[in-house]
């Protein structure tokens, strides 16, 4: 097959953008089939181009990096940025995930959203999101990446608030956008520092400048790295900016699958991996990343254990798994982080889509307490979701096992002084993950049926009775289920008899990191096997507890919850983080703006100047009215006075206007 010409790279993001334009402007008038066709076509073609790109770059003798540059975008003395795309192996993986999983989700949405009004709007926004995400992934400079970064934030806001008539959805959209903005602020500051220090925002230039100076450590690089971490924390929902992700479940389920599981939230991880050259020079920043990752992982997992909404459980699970990826990057195991990103995309998207299928089957029910015994009613959904559950729990030989294990192993053997502690945290989180996923599994599919077939579901359509979803929704589930099973096999480590293809694939990208780790990797096959066995055991313990609480001895969970009510309440109310933010950040800010901006500026300056203008006009008017007294002599008096003034100006003011 002939290699792909690099100019085709432009098509990859621009085709979804064209789809957005068509559906956005004409979609209201087009029939549903046309809207679907446009959306799917303009997502499928980029997927095909990416496939071609894969073949091109995996062929023998293929270049490791392909790039394409446009006309200059910003050119001022000392600083230039172009629209430039670059594709290396890291980009290839991300492209594969975005276009592949993206296309599957588009397909799924065609079925899921079939009865929604605003169908065209949904696909327009979805295509817009694809465009921005692809720009983000393909970008060759921080600035272009930031364009994509902001754009996916915008698309996320639009899609979360898709059911804009619902207050909670609109508020969730605003919350997501605002919290993201805080992260963007960090990213912007990092870019400013980069421009000031390197005079450039291109990846190649900045990274080669850093590589060329092996003695640069810490200092400004730490500052830049920490600011980038702030941005990544916002986008990838880490502590302290994760609060938007659970609320983002107000959006339609395919949105949760695409944006808040597989792609947008991984942008932060991608950015950290892309800037690994920078992060490697700042052990402090890496330590911060690792700690944030581990803390978020266990924090979110603990909240997820007591949630009742099926989508909330998955949301907190996403936050937790993103913590794992952060942890991986924090200990320098970038390839492992990306590997987990890949497998997570598969099984998390699968889990969300399958949850959507369950919700669709139950005509809108999302509370797990009103589910149960569905495995006989919706078998295909059951089997595919099970694949996802086993994958995320880290059971061998499903995908999640290999990726999660790799991360835990690298954390244990890292140079980080608290590496072992982080490993323990990760291990406990793995146990919790297994527990709450199997809890979800048991509560949804096993046990007595607690749902009632309602007359109307939440979108007002007549209920269908519990039934399996149409094939257009099941097909993506099946594909993703297969990928969840075999997806991890590209990263089977040498210790378990594999070749760890993905790590070697990403070697050209993470050359620095992997050479540092090369020594430790070779030595301890035995250690790796032991650690793998431990994590498998932990997953099994999680399964066991879930089995006991939710299958064999039902009601045990309730009893424990009653006995430790304060702890349970703490978890169930998400550690009151939202309330804390509200009290300490939101309310003071609102009070301050009300005081300063509303009272001082709005009423004082703006309103005041308006009033002043009016009052002064009135005042001057009433003063000058007195001149019109009707008395001729007073007119004469003013005339004389005026004449004198004119004379004065004429005689002595000559210098004023000849200046």
């Amino acid at each position: 097959m002939s290699p792909m010409p690099s100019s085709y790279l432009w098509l990859i993001p621009l085709l979804p953008f064209a789809g957005f334009l068509i559906n956005g402007t004409l979609g209201r008038k087009l029939p549903r089939a046309a809207v679907t066709a446009v959306a799917l076509l303009f997502t499928a073609i980029p997927a095909a181009i990416v496939a071609w790109l894969w073949i091109t770059m995996k062929a023998a003798g293929a270049p490791e990096v392909i790039g394409v540059i446009s006309q200059p975008w910003i050119t001022i003395t000392g600083f230039q940025v172009d629209f430039a795309f670059t594709v290396d192996h890291l980009t290839l993986i991300m492209l594969g995930v975005v276009t592949g999983v993206g296309f599957l989700i588009h397909l799924y949405s065609a079925g899921y959203m079939a009865h929604e009004e605003g169908y065209w709007r949904f696909f327009a926004y979805l295509n817009l999101f694809m465009f921005f995400m692809l720009v983000l992934v393909l970008a060759e400079s921080f600035l272009l990446l930031f364009v994509g970064w902001e754009g996916v934030g915008l698309a996320s806001y639009l899609l979360i608030g898709f059911y804009f008539k619902k207050d909670s959805a609109a508020n969730a959209g605003k919350k997501a956008f605002i919290v993201n903005r805080i992260g963007d602020f960090g990213f912007l500051l990092a870019m400013f520092l980069l421009v000031e220090h390197f005079g450039n925002l291109n990846f190649t230039e900045v990274f080669s400048a850093i590589s060329a100076n092996p003695d640069w450590h810490g200092g400004i690089l730490t500052a830049i790295a920490l600011l980038l971490v702030l941005g990544a924390a916002g986008k990838s929902a880490q502590i302290p900016l994760y609060v938007w992700l659970p609320d983002a479940m107000e959006g339609p389920t395919p949105v949760s699958a695409l944006i808040h599981a597989a792609t947008m939230v991984t942008a932060g991880i991608y950015m950290v991996a892309r800037c690994h050259v920078l992060f490697d020079r700042s052990p402090y920043a890496l330590g911060v990343v690792a700690v944030i990752g581990a803390a978020t992982a266990i924090f979110a997992a603990s909240i997820g254990m007591v949630q009742h909404d099926i989508k909330r459980v998955l949301a907190y699970s996403t936050v937790s798994q993103l913590g794992y990826m952060f942890l991986a990057c924090g200990v320098g195991a970038y390839a492992a982080g990306i590997f987990h990103l890949l497998t997570h995309a598969f099984f998390k998207a699968l889990l969300f889509l399958a949850a959507g299928s369950v919700i669709h089957a139950l005509s809108g029910e999302q509370d797990m307490r009103r589910m149960g015994g569905l495995r006989k009613r919706i078998p295909i959904t059951f089997w595919t979701m099970s694949a996802g559950v086993f994958a995320i729990a880290g059971i061998w030989p499903f995908a999640g096992f290999f990726s999660k294990d790799e991360i835990l192993y690298r954390t244990f053997t890292s140079d980080d002084p608290i590496g072992k502690l982080l490993w323990a945290v990760g291990l406990i989180t793995a146990g919790m993950t297994s527990f709450y996923m199997f809890r979800l599994w048991f509560k949804t599919f096993f046990g007595p049926e607690k749902f009632k077939t309602a007359d109307k579901d939440e979108h007002g359509h007549a209920a269908h009775g519990v039934h399996e979803s149409p094939w257009i929704m099941l097909f993506p589930l099946v594909v993703l289920a297969i990928l969840s099973v075999i997806g991890g096999w590209v990263g089977i480590p040498a210790a378990l008899g594999g070749h760890n293809e993905i790590e070697h694939f990403l070697d050209p990208v993470f050359a620095n990191a992997s050479t540092a780790e090369a020594a430790t990797v070779v030595v301890s096959h035995g250690l790796e096997l032991t650690l793998a066995a431990i994590s498998l055991l932990t997953a099994g313990i999680g399964f066991f507890f879930a089995y006991v609480f939710y299958y064999s001895k039902r009601g045990t969970a309730n009893a424990i919850a009653h006995k430790s009510k304060p702890l349970y309440n703490l978890l169930a109310n998400k550690f009151y983080v939202d309330e804390i933010y509200n009290t300490f950040i939101v309310t003071p800010l609102l009070m301050f703006t009300r005081l300063i901006l509303e009272l001082l500026v709005e009423n004082g300056v703006v309103g005041g100047s308006g009033q002043a203008a009016g009052a002064s006009a009135k005042g001057i008017g009433s003063l000058t009215r007195r001149i019109q007294s009707g008395n001729i002599r007073s007119y004469a008096g003013w005339l004389a006075f005026g004449a004198a003034a004119v004379l004065l100006v004429m005689i002595f003011g000559r210098s004023l206007w000849t200046r």
Binding site: N631, G637, A640, F641, A643, A644, L648
Partner: protein, 168 residues
């Protein structure tokens, strides 16, 4: 000679003006104004404007001031009463008038070197007379304005007739 003329008739003019100011009955003011105009006629003659001096006597004091006197007698205007006037006239007007005077004098005095001196009888060295020079300009270059002023006078006549007519 020049100086004597100037002083005498200048003083007369100022005295007449002050009298206009100070008299209470308008007829007295009118007659003082006639005195002012006559003195001004002499001053014009001393500056070489003979025609204007004649016109001043004939037209200004002979026609216009007579007209004033007619109206005063027609309306039988009596002495002025004291009424409460406007404050603005006193507080703003007088400073204004004083300022005008001061400014003008200041300018004239500071330029007095440049202004030069007057020669009695004019400057024409008896080559042409004042009146022929005046009429040359008036009937050649300024013929149109001259004719327009005659229309102006016609309009004024009409206006005066209409305005002063008894209501029917």
């Amino acid at each position: 000679m020049q100086l004597a003329l100037f002083i005498i008739f200048g003083a007369l003019a100022v005295a007449g003006a002050l009298n206009l100011l100070l008299q209470r009955h308008p007829i007295n003011s009118a007659l003082s104004l006639v005195v002012v105009m006559m003195s001004l006629a002499v001053l014009y003659w001393s500056l070489g404007a003979e025609f204007l001096a004649a016109a001043q006597v004939i037209v200004y004091s002979g026609a216009i001031m007579v007209f004033f006197v007619f109206v005063i007698m027609l309306l039988n205007a009596g002495e002025e009463e004291r009424t409460e006037g406007s404050r603005a006239a006193y507080f703003v007007g007088f400073p204004g008038a004083a300022a005008i005077f001061c400014l003008l004098s200041f300018v004239f005095l500071s330029e007095r070197k440049a202004l030069g001196v007057a020669n009695i009888g004019g400057y024409l060295n008896h080559l042409t007379s004042n009146i022929s020079e005046l009429s040359t300009v008036l009937f050649t270059r300024l013929l149109l304005p001259f004719e327009v002023t005659s229309v102006l006078i016609l309009v004024a006549i009409l206006g005066a007739v209409v305005l002063a007519r008894k209501e029917q």
